[in-house]
Symmetry: C2
Subunit: 422 residues, 2 copies
Amino acid sequence: MATIVQKFGGTSVGDAQRIMRCAKRIAETRAAGNDVVAVCSAMGDTTDDLISLAEAINSEPDRREMDSLMSTGEQVSCALMAMALHKLGVPAVSLTGGQVGVRTNDSHRRARIEAIDPSRMRAELARGRVPVVCGFQGTTPSGEITTLGRGGSDTTAVALAAALNVAADGGYCDIFTDVDGVYTADPRIVKNAAKLSKISYEEMLELAALGAGVMHARAVMFGEKYNVPIHVRHSQKPDTGTMIVREYQGMEDIVVVGAALKPDLGRVSLRRIPNNLGVQGVIFEKIASAGIMVDDIVQTEFGDMASISFTVDHADLADVKIAASHVLDQLGTGELAIEIGLAKVSAVGTGMKSHSGVASRMFRALGDAKVPIHNITTSEIKISCIVPKEHGQKALQTVHDAFNLELGDSVTKVAQRDVAKA
Amino acid sequence: MATIVQKFGGTSVGDAQRIMRCAKRIAETRAAGNDVVAVCSAMGDTTDDLISLAEAINSEPDRREMDSLMSTGEQVSCALMAMALHKLGVPAVSLTGGQVGVRTNDSHRRARIEAIDPSRMRAELARGRVPVVCGFQGTTPSGEITTLGRGGSDTTAVALAAALNVAADGGYCDIFTDVDGVYTADPRIVKNAAKLSKISYEEMLELAALGAGVMHARAVMFGEKYNVPIHVRHSQKPDTGTMIVREYQGMEDIVVVGAALKPDLGRVSLRRIPNNLGVQGVIFEKIASAGIMVDDIVQTEFGDMASISFTVDHADLADVKIAASHVLDQLGTGELAIEIGLAKVSAVGTGMKSHSGVASRMFRALGDAKVPIHNITTSEIKISCIVPKEHGQKALQTVHDAFNLELGDSVTKVAQRDVAKA
């Protein structure tokens, strides 16, 4: 008998009917002979509504009080889910983060899980009950309520699965969401994108960082660290989705598993700056303290001068301009250049490590499609090209076609290895 | 420096603006040199909304889950109240029933407070912060969330005041509500009803039992048991209200402190039943097991036969008819008579104990007003008359006038003592 943790997002539990449908899934999984632990997010727009309420009273609400306020959202959805299970004749008990033993540090609104005591869950499972656990929340050792911040409910689910060591008896963590699974590319842009049956944590993390919004990187990292298989699937469809695992059969043979697009970037260049020791530290400290997330960084040298470029989300350009000007003031030299209207297309795959020719294949395909490449960055399992924004969607489709990604998992030995060797 | 517990009901914290207004009251009380502990109910209709949500999923929701669901209402209002206080520069911290140390038994939806650990409140007060406590809720020793049922938030407030022993340094418990205080009669019916500045717990309990809905009897009983002065006052007006205390100056001189009306009763009579030992037990066991609240009971004897009458709320008549028929079947004899269209008018006052002539004065006044009296029941500090429903409001006004209640507290030595002796 396996133990399966099933996590339902805010849309999946958005109203009474949807909650009943999720409860039926839990009942079915249990009827198939598994132990189930459910994890729920807050219903639909509850969290946004609570934030609006708070802001009507205090535009800078205290973080601890926000946590106490927001944690009520999951408490409501979990109590309702337990009632829905009772209605189906399934014994169940809702548990807050504090009751289930999710202990966090005291960084309110972005707390980190420090420990999970599985004894209450085990006791409830032993009594034949489904623990219905509030995602996104925990308590500090002194009993203060905390929330985990973005991606918190997914992280709770994976962390509970880790604490219960579900993998030991063949269990895993179901993440029910509003997509069918992880695709070779965003199917809204690439019409022939294929659903992957499996993907590695590492690949998923790269794709998540590149804007593939299926799962938050934080939960995937937790899964990787504690070896929890994560099953991403649609909450309203019976089909299996995508299993995120450490490694899978033929993983090394799949050169490229997915492609991703970040559609709206700007590039900031600091040119003719002195290539001193530590100059990069000065620059990015300033940028970071302005709260700006920096994408790829490229540095080039000309004698004792250097030029540093980095990409940022288009929305951050105004802030970054101010911060970068301050940097140049501080350095006393250099030029600031800002380009807008850029996008980034990337190919990701563990198999890249062991196959040559992947980068050249990608560049050739983009060239054939007449997509200009402004910048190139690579990691062990990723190649990214900065391209003009207006070419973004075509570039994504081009990369997808170049590696026969429409074949999904079945691509393995057929097309890609040959492609990569070509 | 006194410690004052201030309780704000659901209407008082119904929206952001009202919460800010309550926060200002707390700030003012604190600025006047007092320590303040705030207690909040759930905002406006929150509790009803949550109950509807639950019933859409399960028409017989589990009591434990209902408690977990409903307790979120106060958690929201208290977090918002703390934010409102911060906005005014007042340090504050919201605390759930569990966090503040309200320990209850495990009777979900109608839990009894078993103990309150005041250490967290004292620690927060010592740090200069206002504890903003969730009313209506607590936790069992094993950490299960409970709610206290009807009148729960008032009870929480009085219980916290008792645990902090506020009376020792001149403190009390403010109950902010949507009325000015306790009146000599319902001012919607009796236009010249007067607000009382003081009333005893005992008198308040009698009035509450007679349908004067200002405060729930449970909180008053708690106040009486632990000697907590309770100040009932309007949440949106600065005026003082009514202080409920053990005894007050001149209490014995006020013969009648208030009058009350229960407007819609029916009377059930079981006639010609054998006056056996234990027959009353048989009857009222049956009635009670049907969940019917019985008002006054009158028994009369005729030889070895008896007749037992009791009044019930008009809404319960259909149920009581069935239960009473079963009783007669069981006894194998007797007749059932049901009268509808009755009301009960009562006069309450501690001073009654030591003054004669109160009953006769009341009866004479009702007679002069041509109000027929069907039944009379009395307690040490109360006289009640069952009258025809259509005479109810006139009867209330008549009793009010007969004891010069329009003079309120100032009636003491002037009018009533003479009246009573007359």
